[in-house]
């Protein structure tokens, strides 16, 4: 009796496996165990090849600051709605007509750690992009700047509008600092104003799916 049940179960599971193998998932489940962050990306989005990203980042290491940030990076991924956006475009400030999401986890540099104050909102504002320096000039407008807490993490959600070369693009930035204030998790979603409006629902879905999980193998400094 047991053998018969086991046989049937095994056949059923095997069939399930074969069915699952042929099914299509609802979304890309993206994340990094080492970085301790996970999020969902719609199925029709695609990930930019890590090798292409690494190649595009080669220029960053020419500056000392860039090299230091690359060295401290734990995880870095770029997702795009359309392949029409190249890697270099995605990683630059150039206006893109198709949404791009850049997610990264990096350890704070020693200098950054010493510069952290009690005003976390102010600190986080410039850790991802130098917003404070550009806010009064260069056509940068802060549309939203909200602080929040999440499982001990302190975070800042920003929506920025930036005019450059006669075009306006919207940045949706989420930055999170771990309780020990040693690691920075950042999401930058951006594209032109028109594009952002069109894809705002998808971008919000991505932002809302962000899940944090203390990495088991990353010890706090």
């Amino acid at each position: 009796m047991f053998i018969r049940t086991a046989t049937r179960s095994a056949i059923a599971i095997a069939a399930s496996v074969l069915l699952v193998a042929c099914s299509v998932p609802s979304a890309h489940h993206v994340g990094s165990s080492a970085g301790g962050v996970f999020f969902n990306v719609p199925q029709n989005w695609s990930k930019v090849d890590d090798r292409l990203v690494a190649k595009a980042q080669e220029g960053w290491s020419e500056s000392e600051a860039g090299a230091a940030i690359l060295d401290s990076t734990v995880w870095f991924e770029v997702w795009r709605y359309s392949d029409s956006v190249s890697v270099n475009q995605a990683l630059s400030n150039n206006v893109v007509e198709s949404p791009v999401v850049i997610a990264s986890v990096r350890n704070l540099l020693d200098l950054e750690k010493t510069q952290l104050t009690a005003d976390i909102k102010n600190d986080l504002q410039d850790l991802v992009l130098p917003v404070s320096d550009a806010v009064d000039g260069d056509g940068l407008e802060v549309k939203a700047n909200d602080r929040f807490s999440f499982s001990g993490y302190e975070g800042l959600q920003q929506t920025l509008s930036w005019d450059a070369d006669g075009k306006t693009q919207t940045f949706r930035i989420v930055s999170l600092l771990n309780p020990a204030r040693t690691r920075l998790i950042s999401f930058i979603a951006r594209c032109s104003d028109t594009c952002f409006t069109t894809h705002s629902a998808e971008i919000e879905t991505i932002i809302k799916s962000i899940t944090l999980k203390e990495p088991a193998n990353v010890s706090s400094p």
């Binding site: 095994a10 056949i11 496996v17 074969l18 099914s23 489940h29 799916s209």
Partner: protein
């Protein structure tokens, strides 16, 4: 209906199983066999799924399954699950559907018939091509994954990649070479030693230096002649005998003969030490054997022949029980060595009977002997002695083959193997088979003429005054003397002469030396007077009886000097080497033993010492063994002598065969016989009363006298040490009787003092 405890229930009746070719459907699989692989692959897939779910908290079960399936290992597992599912479905259909099963079998038969069109050799080559293709593809895939190349690109760029990797490969090869060379060096050093090569003229010993072994020497010369001139036998279709075994007692000149061969031959001579193949590490012996024969082949080709000598060949060992089927050869040795002579050996009985008799011997003589040389040394030696004749040399085997030529057959290596041992039973029978050892020679004790020659030659090296008669006499009283013992005796005589401050060695010196070597040094302790007389009388009874009755031996010495537990003894020497002994001679031997008891009781009025115990035990043993083993008693039954001794039957042990009890007829017969022999001894001694007292007196005076002195006293003539004529006088007879009567009286009162030893008339030498 089967019983609940019927263990055979459910089992198929023998012969009821359907033949595979008679089946209409496939034999159903057991449920476990049906699911085991599927369960394994599914289990591994589920483990991957679990890991994915743990890794990413956002994963749903379905999405995780999809993700797993799209990893490399996931794809592989799904493929395995699919293949296994299809296979099991195929089995299932074949188990239920006759048509499907038949169709499938037909397909296979057709496939088989297709492959059968090719010869097995072609099939093997095709399979080899397929295997190599797969291996190259797998390697290219692995290497390509590291180099971001497709397997095909990797194969195309293979030679270039190989050249690039050459320095690294050479480095690896170099490290391996270093590691290997260390082992090679260690084994090379360990496999040195134990083998000496002598070139012609290195050894000075010649055949003329070997004395007393003419018969064996002639045969060996013959072998050397064939080795020196192989055409003499090879041109007539024969072959040079390749092996000689010299076996025999120690010191008979086996090694000397081998040395003489080295001195006489014009070929190199290789001497193998007895311990050459005894090694600490496994495998060294094999290397040594191979190295030895490589050297022998080289010398053989260079000098046209070579002689190799294995001294103490028994150290080469035997494989023991593994070669028991070949023990017949050993039995031949056993017969020759066994002192329990049987006429014509066992050759007139059937083989099975011979084996039974041999086994009986083995129980006693060879019990507990195990095999040795299990490290392959002996086997390597056997192979080298007569193994596969294979082409040798790198150029011959490899280069010629590369050039499309067949390797040359090995040349004729003329290697004469000589072995010497005094333990032929310890040799492996396989080693002694013709082709390895063609000739087996027993090097026995030298003949009398050989001993005379040996004595003459050794005495010629020193200053002596021995006459030819005395040398012959020495040879007569040294029946089992070997070249080594004669050399040692002569040297000891020289030492005695030097100790006495004399330049010339005398006959007496040689006799003393011989006695010393044969019987050892006396303890030097003195008897009390009364005991001295009884001990001397005891030995005199033996001596006189022996002289009067023994016709096949002479007395070597008679002595009353203590040696350990032995108070004195009379030592006989056989006049010639005898193979069998007659019943009458056994009786005389027994009488000689019994004479001590008979004499003591005769001269001491019925009293006797404990000293007769050993003699009576020996007499009893002789008579019992004669009766049990040699049908010398009232029955015709006879048993193997060694079995009789071993079973303890002689001393009243368990009966060897049911119905034969030592307490019964044999014991009674032995007792009766001993009594008869006792009476005979007493009669002889009574008739020679004066001779006994004379020899007693001589022993008391000189402690040790030679057999010739005993004869001189009894016959009333002059001996080498004692003048027997002085004992023949009436006055001396009276003195000796008075002396014995006084000694007897002193014995009777226990604490009485015996009289002084009577003086011989003037002129008697001391």
């Amino acid at each position: 209906m089967s019983h609940p405890h019927d263990l055979t229930a459910g089992l198929q009746q023998p012969g009821s199983r359907i033949r595979d070719e008679d089946r209409t459907t496939r034999k159903p699989l057991e449920p476990f066999d049906r699911i085991k692989l599927l369960a394994l692959w599914v289990g591994l897939w589920l483990m991957q799924l679990w890991a994915t779910l743990i890794d990413n908290p956002l994963q749903t079960l379905g999405d995780a399954g999809y993700a797993v399936t799209h990893t490399g290992i996931g794809r592989f597992l799904v493929a395995l699950i699919a293949v296994e599912s299809i296979r099991q479905i195929h089995f299932l259909i074949a188990e239920w559907n006759t048509t499907y099963y038949r169709l499938w079998n037909v397909t296979f038969i057709r496939t088989d018939s297709l492959t059968r069109r090719f010869s097995p050799w072609t099939r093997f080559r095709l399979a080899r091509i397929a295997k190599w293709t797969f291996a190259i593809y797998a390697l290219a895939s692995i290497v390509g994954s590291f180099l971001n190349l497709t397997p095909f690109e990797t194969i195309v760029r293979g030679p270039q990649l190989a050249v690039q990797a050459l320095p690294f490969a050479l480095q690896i090869v170099f490290y391996m070479f270093i590691a290997i060379i260390q082992f090679v060096a260690i084994f090379w050093f360990l496999s040195r030693g134990g083998i000496d090569v002598y070139m012609p003229d290195d050894v000075k010993t010649r055949f003329s230096d070997v004395w007393g072994q003419d018969a064996v020497l002639e045969r060996i010369k013959e072998n050397i002649l064939f080795l020196e001139n192989p055409d003499a036998i090879e041109s007539r279709g024969g072959h040079v005998p390749g092996g000689i075994l010299l076996w025999g007692p120690p010191g008979t000149g086996k090694t000397l003969m081998a040395e003489a061969v080295a001195g006489e031959t014009g070929r190199p001579y290789v001497f193998v030490d007895p311990g050459a193949f005894v090694n600490m590490f496994f495998g060294i012996g094999v290397l040594k054997v191979k190295g030895l024969f490589r050297k022998l082949r080289k010398l053989s080709l260079r000098y046209g022949g070579v002689i190799v000598f294995f001294d103490e060949a028994d150290t080469l060992g035997s494989r023991g029980g593994q070669v028991s089927q070949l023990r017949k050869l050993n039995d031949e040795f056993s017969i020759s060595l066994n002192h329990d002579h049987m006429c014509n050996g066992r050759s007139y009985v059937s083989e099975s009977s011979s084996m039974v008799l041999a086994d009986e011997d083995r129980k006693v003589m060879m019990g507990g002997m195990g095999g040795r040389s299990m490290d392959g040394t002996l086997q390597a030696l056997l192979t080298e002695l007569s193994g596969l004749k294979k082409p040798r040399g790198f150029i011959n085997r490899v280069v010629r083959r590369v050039l499309g030529m067949r390797p040359k057959q090995p040349p004729k290596y003329r290697i004469l193997v000589m072995m010497a041992t005094n333990m032929p039973d310890s040799l492996d029978p396989a080693m002694l088979r013709p082709g390895r050892i063609d000739r087996i020679y027993r090097v026995g004790y030298p003949s009398k003429s050989g001993r005379i020659e040996t004595y003459e030659n050794y005495l010629a090296k020193i200053t002596h005054d021995l006459t030819a008669e005395q040398i012959e006499s020495l040879a007569t009283i040294s029946p089992y003397a070997t070249g080594a013992t004669i050399k040692d005796t002569v040297n000891e005589a020289l030492v005695i002469a030097i100790r006495d401050g004399r330049e010339v060695v005398s006959y007496a010196d040689v006799i003393k030396a011989k006695s010393l070597k044969q019987h050892g040094l006396p303890d030097g302790g003195a008897y009390v007077d009364r005991e001295r007389h009884s001990v001397a009388l005891h030995e005199a009874c033996h001596a006189v009886t022996m002289y009067r009755l023994q016709h096949n031996s002479v007395i070597d010495i008679a002595t009353i000097e203590r040696r350990g537990d032995v108070g004195g003894f009379v030592s006989p020497i056989p006049l010639d080497e005898r193979f069998v002994q007659w019943k009458s001679e056994v009786d005389v031997d027994a009488v000689t033993f019994i004479a001590s008891l008979a004499g003591e009781q005769l001269f001491y009025e019925g009293d006797h010492t404990q000293g007769v115990g050993g003699d009576m035990a020996a007499a009893t043993s002789l008579i019992t063994r004669g009766m049990l083993s040699h049908a010398m008693g009232p029955t015709l039954r006879a048993f193997n002598a060694s079995s009789v001794v071993n079973s303890g039957l002689v001393l009243g042990g368990t009966p060897l065969v049911q119905g034969v009890s030592p307490e019964g007829e044999i014991a009674e017969a032995v007792e009766k016989r001993l009594k008869e022999l006792y009476a005979r001894a007493k009669k002889v001694l009574a008739a020679n009363r004066h001779e006994v007292l004379s020899v007693t007196h001589a022993l008391e005076t000189h402690k040790t006298i030679s057999g010739e002195d005993v004869a001189a006293i009894i016959e009333g003539r002059k001996g080498p040490l004692v003048d027997g004529t002085m004992y023949a006088t009436r006055e001396m007879k009276k003195k000796l009787e008075n002396y014995h009567s006084a000694a007897l009286a002193a014995h009777k009162v226990r604490d009485g003092r015996p009289p002084a030893l009577p003086e011989l008339p003037t002129g008697v030498s001391k």
